[in-house]
Amino acid sequence: MVKRYISKFYMILMFIFLYAPIAVLAVYSFNSSKSRGAWGGFTLKWYVELFNDRDIKSALYYTILVALLSALISTIIGTISAIGIHNMKHKQKALILNINYLPILNPDIVTGIALMILYLSLNLKLGFLTMLLSHITFGIPYVILAVLPKLKQMNKHITEAALDLGATPLYALRKVLLPQIKPGIITGFLIAFTLSIDDFVISFFTTGSGVNNLSMVIYSMARRGIKPTINALSTLMLAVVLGLLLLINKRSSFDKKHVKKVGK
């Protein structure tokens, strides 16, 4: 009982730590002064301005599109590769994993510039595609790292049982293996998505004209002080996601109750 309270308390502390800066930036989205340093009174003008800013809208679109696509593709490639890596012999596995660590280890600017030179020498036009490829490249290693522990935990006899019952490896993968490593896959997706949303340097060097993401907009604003419109945007995004979460939570708890009733 006491333990439950302690863990609840700890959890709340942790969430305060995580959300304190977010709260600050949300508050500043209502600050009529343009500068982060001073409070100039309450205003909604940044929200109004947000809807009139063409660059932010297009950047938001590309940010979400690239994040979703790259996270999805990284998750697919990463998960499949992780399964392969899991089945490798020790030496091979070590080699592949070490190479896999490089994008995680390399500073973004090195990756960004190196990829840019790569694309150009491949005669790829910098733009949406190259940016997407780059995001996939740095997403996959994280997905692999997220999926591998779950694979290691898995009982191999269960996959064998599926094959035994006539499941092709692909079917066994879909119906037996994936459901079991699902937490790892979801985690991998979340990490890849998060990294993609947050990436600036690599995106900058590998994108082309007209395709910008929010991070690029924000970093480029830094010199003059980031406009509170961005805070407004962040606050809105947060609100939307939180709202969705609340909705899902309500739905699923409703479903549960419902099922229980029917069950009786």
Binding site: V24, R36, G84, Y101, I218, I230, L245
Partner: protein, 279 residues
Amino acid sequence: MKNKAKLLTYPYIVWMGLFIILPVLLVFLYSITFNEINNIKTISFTINNYKMFFTPVYIQVTLRSIYLAALSTIICLALGYPIAMIIANSKMTSKSILLLLFILPMWMNMLLRTYAWMTILGNNGLINTLLANLGLPTLNLLYNNGAVILGMVYNFIPFMVLPIYTTLSKMDNSLIEVSEDLGANKVQTFIKVIFPLSLPGVISGIIMVFMPAVSSFVIPKLLGGGKDALIGTLIEKLFSLGDWNFGSAVSIVMMFIILLSMAVMNRFDVDKEGGAGLW
């Protein structure tokens, strides 16, 4: 069966060859040449870039970076593990919600978050204002290693929590029961059974925190005040200033050091895991 599953990695191996190895080779090439390498005829090789690195100043930077990153990683682990456990032990529906709530702040831009931290930590920031109002002495919270570590912990802790959470969720409960049956109390059970079983997740978490932390540059620049350069800031600076050659050498050395120390760790691990290595 095993051999076949291995094939699944081949597409990624090709991908790696193209998008990871080739760029790294390029970086390596820069590290051993003068100037640009656009023209193959004028290429000339040198090891000066490496020589330059091995001077006390840069070694110190490297050590400092590894120290800060390691410290942040340890703190992430210490703070994150309980969180992962709490989430893993919570009810089915609240699990995914908690998880998303946990990573949601990271969807706000890192620069914004870091600036927000500066607003909180500054001399006239929220914390110090609070302290002053309480009649307490104010603190120097910003522009020191503490702030850098705080920033790193803040930004990387989800990457520690998530993989640990995945290994803890749906852990074989009977093993925990056996442990308690054999007389291990909750703490001993944790140390001897739960933690070792979650080790793969912990290792993933450590890698996902430590490696980007070693080479991070925005956080040390903004929260550390750019006074004590870290290897990430150094590389970023060298590259953006156009000195790709030396920058490349620094990156290569860093990769080498980190991967080598990982290999050493791996060696230790081999005995325990029966040849399975880190994995």
